[in-house]
């Protein structure tokens, strides 16, 4: 089996189309005080398809609106800027990777898992008083390296999926066995190329690391959110598998049993609403 050279992967990454502007700006606005909300909502509004998807999400039963919102500005006024921005970013990201030509790679469980991890990260973050919307974005992007591998190297990635099914291994083990590189390393390269904030780069690069607790609070949080998303069976993938968990990262959360049970419940509830972004 031939392995992929990191150099080749990097060249492919540089050939990828840049992220939709709205996502770039969301990432750029993380942790900043002086965000120009008017300008950004104007940018969302100019994209008809994106506006429609965002409003559909905002009007989903999850947010419990009294009446239908019809404009991005109205949605921001009611639900808040960061909430609407996350909805737009999710819709936009999912929209840019929906179909992979000549491949059996199924994006649907992938996005279900990404959204599940994002929701778990947001719920955990709010328990820990970490920026919840920032955690959502990190969770949404944590496996983005898999999309790069599946879209840019479809045949190689099918061999990975076959290996995983045959050996019932973890996906990351199958990637390393077949390709000699894994989605965390590829995701890290992409995160650097797309200039993700440092904390999100770390979460993408180290969410499978056994020593993730030494990296940082966001990487640790995403590591746990990923495991909980698998354990809640939200991807609806028959062969889903809960990964090993870094105890240091787990203990770092300092949550008791009841807090975890509450996290599971809230995450399951929020997931249902968040998933309406997926194409029918």
């Amino acid at each position: 089996m031939s392995t992929l050279a990191l150099e080749l992967v990097l060249r492919k990454i540089h050939d990828l189309p840049s992220l939709p502007i709205v996502v770039m700006e969301l990432l750029g606005s993380i942790g900043k005080e002086d965000v120009n909300i008017e300008e950004l909502s104007e940018k969302i509004s100019r994209d008809q398809a994106l506006t429609a998807k965002t409003l559909r999400l905002a009007n989903s039963s999850f947010y419990g609106m009294q009446r239908k919102v019809t404009t991005i500005n109205e949605a921001i006024a009611i639900l808040g800027f960061h909430c609407i921005y996350n909805l737009a970013a999710t819709a936009s990201l999912v929209g840019s990777f929906t179909k992979i030509e000549h491949s059996n790679f199924n994006l649907r469980p992938f996005w279900r898992h990404s959204i599940a991890t994002a929701v778990c990260a947001r719920v955990l973050a709010s328990q820990l008083r970490i920026d919840a919307e920032h955690a959502y974005t990190a969770g949404l992007l944590h496996d983005i390296g898999r999309v790069v591998l599946a879209t840019q190297f479809p045949q190689d990635y099918e061999a990975v999926m076959d290996f995983r099914a045959t050996h019932d291994s973890r996906l990351i083990e199958a990637e390393n066995a077949v390709l000699g590189i894994d989605h965390a390393a590829v995701g890290q390269a992409l995160a650097v190329h797309w200039k993700f904030p440092e904390s999100i780069q770390q979460a993408v690069a180290f969410h499978h690391s056994a020593e993730v607790h030494q990296i940082g609070s966001m990487a640790s949080l995403i590591h746990i959110a990923d495991a909980i998303a698998h354990a809640l069976d939200l991807s609806m993938d028959e062969d889903d598998l809960v990964p090993p968990i870094c105890l240091g990262a787990w203990n770092r959360l300092k949550l008791d049993q009841n807090a975890f049970l509450q996290v599971f419940q809230e995450a399951e509830q929020q997931f249902k609403g968040a998933c309406q972004v997926l194409p029918a």
Binding site: A227, L241, V242, F260, G273
Partner: protein, 106 residues
Amino acid sequence: MTSSYQPLSLSQAVPGMVLSEDLHDAQGNILLPYGSTLTDAILRSLQRRGVKMLSVVADASPVIDQAAQRDYHRARLARLFRKCNDDQGCRVLRNLMTQYRLGEKS
């Protein structure tokens, strides 16, 4: 607020249950839209197409067999945590999840 939904294996689904979300095949094509009511014919067709899991509206369905539901969760937990024996952190999560799904320690 959304009505509660219930993931099921296909073998547990019975006619009269209502899908709580769109049902897709392995390629991501839509098989049945959410809100569809399951019938015998539909269930047989889903079986032929290799569908293994689906999600139904809990309170719009005929009473879901509590024992069957617990069996389903028990089997899924065993499947999801099948590689967890050597990992302490994973066992901690398994205990919590067992408590959450079944109200008992694993």
